[in-house]
Symmetry: D2
Subunit: 259 residues, 4 copies
């Protein structure tokens, strides 16, 4: 991590109020991300002295309230990245990584970079990442985010996957572009035999068009097309139920393999 940051947590608390005969929230759980450790930090439960911000474990505010503090980890930094609207969620990134088995010996190509979310995760776990983005603004943002997270093994290209892929012998090529079928021919040359082509699209029509372009080819097999649904549950004593309203769709993932 380039930047040294801390996570400060005030744990929530409920109390049973006898005359109301029910539990009420007396302290709301609150988490803070602190980038500047050189200055005191203010909260509604009192301020934390700069000297305490350098510690790890239990600290107290000026109002004698207990907080917990520890170093921000990769995922804390990742979640603080500057974003553009459409970002591939972690559930989908995790699916792609686990299903293709990429790791420290893998070469990855991906694009459009967007804010760099997928590039960053691939960068963290793979040997080398090449990320393409035609929009200058996103290209700059992705580079800035990688620098903030201290990820150094990503090469960003300010160009489109539609036009040219210069790398060869990649283990995985991930597409988050409006017309992924346009990249298949170039992907075939960029991937090594056994390498994975992955396409991520918000609509089923794009997904079907991509798979239907892949199916008749001699140089690819279609492995699977899925939606990954993250269904969150609320658990608190006997109140155990799926969350009522939640994000239930992000995109479809298609995985093929260069043969």
């Amino acid at each position: 991590m380039v930047k040294k940051a801390k996570i400060l947590i005030r744990k929530g608390r409920k109390e049973f109020v006898a005359d109301l005969d029910r539990e009420v929230t007396v302290v709301k759980e609150k988490q803070f991300f602190i980038e500047d450790l050189s200055k005191d930090f203010s909260t509604t439960y009192g301020s934390i002295r700069s000297s305490d911000l350098k510690k790890t474990g239990v600290i107290k505010s000026s109002q004698d309230k207990e907080f917990r503090i520890f170093d921000a980890s990769f995922i804390d930094m990742y979640k603080r990245m500057k974003r553009i609207p459409q970002i591939i969620p972690l559930k989908d990134i995790g699916f792609i990584i686990a299903k293709t088995g990429v790791g420290p010996d893998s070469i990855a190509i991906e694009g459009g970079s967007g804010s760099g979310a997928l590039a960053m995760m691939l960068g963290r776990l793979c040997r080398k990442v090449y990320s393409y983005e035609i929009e200058k603004e996103h290209f700059d943002l992705a580079k800035e985010n990688a620098a903030t997270l201290g990820i150094k093994n990503i090469v960003f290209h300010n160009s489109s996957l539609y036009d040219k892929i210069v790398e060869k012998n990649a283990d995985i090529l991930c597409l988050d572009v409006p017309e992924p079928w346009k990249v298949i021919e170039k992907a075939s040359k960029a991937l090594k035999a056994g390498g994975f082509i992955v396409s991520y699209s918000p609509t089923i029509i794009q997904t079907a068009d991509f798979v239907n372009a892949l199916l008749p080819r001699d140089d690819f097999v279609h492995l699977k097309t899925v939606e990954v649904i993250e269904r969150e549950w609320e658990v608190e004593k006997r109140k155990v139920r799926p969350r009522s309203k939640t994000i239930i769709h992000s995109g479809f993932i298609s995985i093929g393999r260069k043969i």
Copy 2:
């Protein structure tokens, strides 16, 4: 990879039969995993000579049928692991890895090892893994699987997480045990501040009991409890629909954080 293995693929093919006025499958897609490259390999489409098994790309069988061949990758070896019945699926492993952001700087503890599936994936992506398993038979299997896959950074303990965790300062601790709540106290000592506790259980009752044990504690926060549903789609021309019958449940994942 310790063992050198190959993937051999005979791509499926359909043909339009004019007098039947519809498409029929004339070649079924078939994939072979070949461990012994020193001998000729027989298929229903003819045999492949040992000398061809060492190549990469297009090869032909004794019946002049085209096959594609390439080196098995990590995920091919992983899928060939010897297994015990209950194995945590890749979709869930990917979710855990992505949501906690563990990577090459991370120390992981997990158990029961089972056949070692989760240990192997964590071993591939993290710095060091400590895996606990009380059943001697599973302990041996997990060690054997790690050796086959050439994963060397896993320490296997033939003991239970219920009894003792010797490591400290871990970034993540994953539980796949019948009574995960019994491990929380030990997990608190084994995890560093900011480290993640993850529990995976097939039933919602175990899940609720675990989360309800975590909630009142000062040293943990509950981040989320989810089901990850992998919904597979069939795509072939206009036939685009979710697969009718599919595995729709494996387990619930709860993630907490040591604070």
Copy 3:
């Protein structure tokens, strides 16, 4: 229907704007429920004369804008019912009706009435409905709603299913109460052999407690426990995708049978 009401619709319209090179919504789709046909009705697209409100088909506003008008049907009235917060959704009501096959020869018992949503639907489709509600305010509301919809075959009791069920020989008994297992004994006497007991609960713990109370009994079999998930799709040209954010949980439905 007791009240005579009308549905007035102004259909939405999109237009392709050449210089913007995209479609824009020029008229937003809008639906009105009109209870009082004796007065002119104002909209942002001009007012509709009272004489036109009595027609069916295409009518025009004072601004010469086209509207469509027709008689409100049962479901339009139903959706306008006065409600209390927790209401059993139509997807769940439909499931219960279809799976039990109740119809014009069926006697139904249900409670708590709440705002009467389930009672009303059962009333529409069954021969006779007996609905229990201990809270006076809800009891009054349910009766008022039934009167508004003109449903006359429901007997409302201002008492609790926990205390007494006076009817016998029912084909179906539906429970929407916090502790449904408390009603099983009484349900056994109220249902005819082959009659259905249905319980609807928001949490899985209530659901499990109900089913676990049913399972060991000699006089009931448990048929199934389900969640009914209504997953909405957006369809507009090539933009075909599940709605991103949606209500994904209401309650669990357990169906047993008196034997």
Copy 4:
């Protein structure tokens, strides 16, 4: 019900076996559908005398084993219908009925009849049903099924909805045909203002084509397109979890309204 039939149930039983320290199933739950009450009925737990088959309640077999017996209800008969492979499931039928609010005052048109499943349910709950089916074999089957269930308010046409719809002023028109968009023009004339058009298709491409044909029309509004997912849960003591493998897709339902 034309045919008089009975449901005979032998309730399952588990027993705790102390020396095995676990529960074992000692009697498997078993349900029989008995059409011929004039003859003794044999089971693996002994035979039931014809005279007992006419009773309701607890009866005993020749082996002194307890059974429960009661009259088959509509839904028992419905489930015994002769079927063709693709049948619209009850969860989807229930959804359509509840969301459109059809009932004893409603006129329904539907087709293709298939085995008559939807026609039968609409027949049970609506005033009159007109069902179209071009395939003679299915037309005959649907008529036979209706006769068996004693449903008399369905008129079956041995012709296709693509060609002609003779009825007018319908409250609902349900399509289960390969190309539902071909029926929209005729549906517009057959439905009364405010009537519902419902299309049921296994693939999303058919669904999208139907909705995209409906959207630009002046005489229809698109209300919603959904998948109804019935997710079954296993409940037995602490073993509370979604069923692992289940049918997770049948078809998409699109509902529009004639205006």
